[in-house]
């Protein structure tokens, strides 16, 4: 399974009084990774809205392994699991770029709603077709972490 990678540098406003990145910022880094991956396949929130859907997050977890520090270069690795139900589950890894040390990992699940708030229990065919290139891309072998 392939992970898509995107980079960022730890900013001053992301570091707490202990000199390490405050835990909540990892969640916005997941969002950076998610948008970078989805943007490649024209599956950004605006694209979902155009298709008539929104995809709110219903579950989120993050495991912290090592702290990230000010000015460090960070890699956000993102993938999506092939759905077994009408939900999209993203997996994330946060690595320090210099030694590719795993700093945190996470998982987030989004369900699908119509614009009038009806939750979909089955992924509609038009959305399945739009998602397929993303899953084809993610099926390819991953570069070593």
């Amino acid at each position: 399974m392939r992970f898509d990678e995107t980079e960022l540098r730890v900013r001053f406003n992301e570091v707490d009084s202990w000199g390490i990145v405050w835990h909540g910022h990892y969640i916005s880094w997941f969002e950076v990774g998610r948008m970078a991956l989805l943007g490649k396949f024209h599956l950004l929130p605006k694209d979902f809205t155009q298709m008539g859907y929104i995809a709110p997050v219903v579950d989120l977890k993050c495991v912290f392994k090592e702290p990230a520090r000010l000015d460090e270069e960070i890699l956000i690795r993102t993938t999506v699991l092939e759905p077994t139900k009408a939900a999209l589950t993203f997996r994330f890894e946060v690595l320090r770029k210099s030694d590719r040390k795993l700093l945190a990992s996470g998982e987030e699940t989004q369900v699908l709603l119509t614009l009038d708030g009806r939750m979909l229990y089955i992924i509609p065919q038009n959305l399945r077709e739009r998602l397929q290139p993303l899953f084809d891309y993610l099926e390819e072998p991953d570069s070593p972490a």
């Binding site: 219903v58 139900k85 939900a87 699940t109 369900v111 009806r118 979909l120 229990y121 089955i122």
Partner: protein, 94 residues
């Protein structure tokens, strides 16, 4: 309502959602499955939809239908029974 089907559905709910400390006797036939009742959530609904489709070939497309079907085990059993009857009739015609 068929007691056998109701019991089968209770077992399916327990197995699908891995409700380790719940027995079929703990689930009331008319009790709410979501919210205040058994306390299931939206992801549980998605898992159940997949299991029901695999086991009985019934399709629950969205929460509009789901809210009616998942009200209790009895309403779920009623839906499975009706849908199975429809699909049997269709098979007989073909």
């Amino acid at each position: 309502m068929s007691a056998a089907l109701v019991l089968e559905l209770k077992k399916l709910i327990i197995e699908t959602l891995k409700l380790e400390e719940v027995t079929p006797e703990d689930i009331e036939d008319e009790g709410q499955l979501f919210g205040d009742g058994l306390g299931l959530d939206s992801i549980d609904a998605l898992e159940l939809v997949v299991a029901l489709e695999k086991t009985y070939g019934v399709s629950i497309p969205d929460s509009e239908v789901g809210e009616r079907v998942f009200r209790s085990v009895n309403t779920l059993a009623q839906f499975v029974k009706e849908q199975s009857a429809i699909s049997n009739q269709q098979s007989a015609k073909e």
